[in-house]
């Protein structure tokens, strides 16, 4: 005896089955839209920019003549910017995460801090730019410096780092902490010697992803008023500077067609930096991921 009479099923369900097939195809097409978009974007930028992308481009300053234009000041400037953003945002973010996960009691103040962090993550980056312009540039008098831009960027990516670190800390099993207390360790000793070492891969992964967002972020720099055409490199944190996305923004706005190619070459540099950082993050995640 056959349990399923396929001809009967096919006869009665053929419409519904073919609807299923058609919709599956539609869903596959929808998924491939994202893939096609990415392929078009990368293909377009590579084909446009590759002819301008050479050593001369990497080692020259900005210029009014497209052939001579280079990205040196922006590349070095972005590195300076990261040397502020990385320590400030990681120290503040990890400290906040440790506080919220290990010390904070369930009360209204701490609930408010948590809610505040999730809301801060949804504030548009240009609004952070207005904050930086008012507080760091004008009130503190840092002017359009690496320090002012770096602090603004740090606050922008702070919520991302906090959330990533919180998740990493939460993933450390309770038993490990209890074992540490059982050995007579104090709370802070437990955090520093047991919890943090176990959480560091997760914290690093999240931090690198957040930093790569900061490298590509343009709007706050525009609002702060970071200049573009610079013929010198910064020598201190109070010097002004330019950064990769600012330089690309400037080239993209220019009407001459040649600058479109220069902008593409700049984007290639930016994307190489970002993809390198993302692969490092993925590498750390895969290498050190522990399941308890």
């Amino acid at each position: 005896m056959r349990y399923i009479q396929e001809d009967v099923v096919m006869k009665r369900m053929s419409k519904r089955l073919s609807a299923n097939k058609i919709w599956k195809l539609i869903f596959i097409l929808a998924t491939s839209f994202a893939l096609v978009s990415l392929a078009m974007l990368l293909g377009r930028i590579l084909s446009q920019g590759v002819s301008y992308f050479d050593m001369q481009f990497l080692t020259s300053f900005a210029s009014r003549i497209p052939e001579n234009a280079g990205i040196k000041a922006a590349l070095i400037g972005s590195l300076w910017l990261m040397s502020v953003v990385a320590p400030v945002s990681i120290i503040l973010g990890v400290s906040t995460a440790i506080y919220l996960e290990e010390y904070a009691k369930q009360n209204k103040l701490n609930d408010f801090i948590r809610m505040n962090i999730s809301n801060l993550a949804g504030v548009p980056s240009i609004v952070f730019g207005l904050l930086g312009l008012t507080i760091f540039v004008r009130l503190f008098g840092f002017d359009k410096s690496i320090l002012a831009a770096g602090l603004t960027m740090s606050l922008l990516i702070l919520p991302v780092i906090i959330v990533a670190s919180q998740e990493a800390i939460r993933a450390v099993p309770k038993e490990q902490r209890e074992a540490s207390y059982g050995m007579g360790a104090t709370k802070w000793q437990t955090i520093v010697r047991v919890v943090l070492p176990a959480a560091i891969p997760g914290i690093l992964t999240g931090s690198i992803l957040a930093l790569s967002r900061a490298i590509g972020e343009t709007a706050p720099l525009v609002v702060i008023g970071i200049p573009v055409i610079l013929q010198f490199l910064p020598t201190s944190y109070l010097d002004t500077f330019t950064a990769l996305p600012m330089q690309i923004f400037d080239w993209a706005k220019r009407p001459q067609e040649e600058f479109q190619y220069v902008a593409s070459a700049g984007i290639i540099v930016l994307m190489i930096v970002l993809l390198t950082m993302n692969s490092i993050a993925i590498f750390i995640r895969n290498k050190f991921q522990k399941r308890y």
């Binding site: 369900m13 609807a19 299923n20 599956k24 869903f27 596959i28 929808a30 998924t31 839209f33 994202a34 893939l35 978009s37 990415l38 078009m40 974007l41 377009r44 930028i45 446009q48 503040l92 400290s95 906040t96 440790i98 506080y99 919220l100 904070a104 408010f112 801090i113 505040n116 809301n119 949804g122 504030v123 548009p124 240009i126 609004v127 730019g129 207005l130 904050l131 008012t134 004008r138 606050l155 702070l158 906090i162 007579g184 104090t186 802070w188 790569s212 343009t218 709007a219 525009v222 702060i224 008023g225 690309i248 923004f249 993209a252 706005k253 902008a263 984007i267 930016l270 970002l274 993302n278």
Partner: protein
């Protein structure tokens, strides 16, 4: 004294010693305070944002009447004689871009989410998810350049009267930008619908499509709606795509082919030019920024509310 007593005493002695060690005690008391101070930075940031926006906006409204600002249909801050500050054209420009972005991102994002959570094999998911992550990590300045130098010329072939700066091209690209977020949040919501519910429906003879649309979608609806609302919030606050490809012509009309200006693009326009400190134009960027902040905050709170209030518990 027996050996046992000696042992017990020495352990107690050690505990006693540990308790009395002063340095340790000091650290144990100091650290929570320092960590708490770090945690307050994020709160201070919010206060900083709200207060700077409010104070500078109040300064703006001592110069421009608030009703003119809220209901004015003309935004002409640079006209020397009689500048007009009516926010409606900027809001309309923002909404035009957002509307197109949603039209692009919701069907494609949801389609991809349904495919990934209901149809796709583990292998396909392993390929598609990292690609979505790359797409989410592309800086907006790159998207903006892509919109201006590639999508606009492409669209001009299809729509002959399309201007170089318009609402459609940045709208589409903003849609591509928020698509990964909508896909991954919706996919999370749909994946958390338990297998047993799906199997129940499949056992009754439903096809996979019927399970997806009639069982999984309704069950995951709150998460999906929250993802769309967050997408809208992102689209409203997006800056570089619209300021590169949208233009700088704030107009109160309902066409999509002409140059527009969004709230964010106006702030960029003023800050890249040299608006002197203390001028009305300088203060106007804070009023626009404040308006933008209200819009996105409302959306974010709404998304949180929806995902909390309507969450299904299994």
């Amino acid at each position: 004294m027996t050996l046992k007593q000696q042992e017990r005493q020495s352990v107690q002695h050690l505990i006693e010693q540990a308790r009395n060690r002063k340095g340790k005690k000091f650290i144990e008391k100091c650290v929570p305070v320092l960590l708490f101070l770090a945690a307050t930075i994020s709160v201070l940031t919010t206060f900083g944002i709200v207060f700077t926006l409010i104070f500078e906006t109040i300064e703006f409204f001592t110069r421009v009447s608030i009703t003119d600002y809220l209901f004015g249909k003309e935004w002409l801050p640079f006209s020397g004689k009689e500048p007009l500050y009516g926010i409606l054209p900027l809001i309309l420009g923002t909404l035009k871009v957002t509307a197109i972005a949603i039209v692009v991102a919701v069907p494609f994002g949801l389609g991809a989410a349904i495919y990934l959570s209901e149809y796709a094999s583990e292998g396909v998911r392993k390929v598609v998810k990292p690609i979505l992550e790359v797409l989410a990590g592309v800086p907006t300045i790159v998207y903006g350049f892509f919109a201006l130098s590639f999508i606009t010329p492409l669209l001009q072939v299809i729509i002959p009267n399309l201007k170089i700066f318009n609402a459609i091209s940045p709208g589409i690209v903003v849609g591509v930008m928020i698509l990964p977020m909508i896909t991954s949040m919706s996919e999370d919501a749909m994946s958390s619908v338990p297998r047993s519910i799906r199997e129940g429906a499949l056992g009754l003879g439903a096809t996979k499509f019927e399970v997806a649309v009639k069982v999984v979608l309704p069950a995951a609806l709150s998460g999906i709606v929250a993802s769309v609302v967050l997408g809208i919030s992102r689209a409203i606050g997006e800056t570089m795509i619209v300021s590169l490809a949208g233009g700088s012509t704030p107009k109160f009309d309902f066409g999509f082919t002409d140059s527009i200006q969004t709230m964010t693009a106006y702030i960029v326009q003023v800050t890249t030019g040299d608006a002197g400190y203390g001028t009305t134009i300088y203060y106007s960027i804070y009023a626009v920024g404040f308006t933008l902040f209200i819009f996105t905050l409302t959306m974010n709170l709404l998304a949180t509310y929806i995902s909390k209030r309507f969450r299904e518990e299994y």
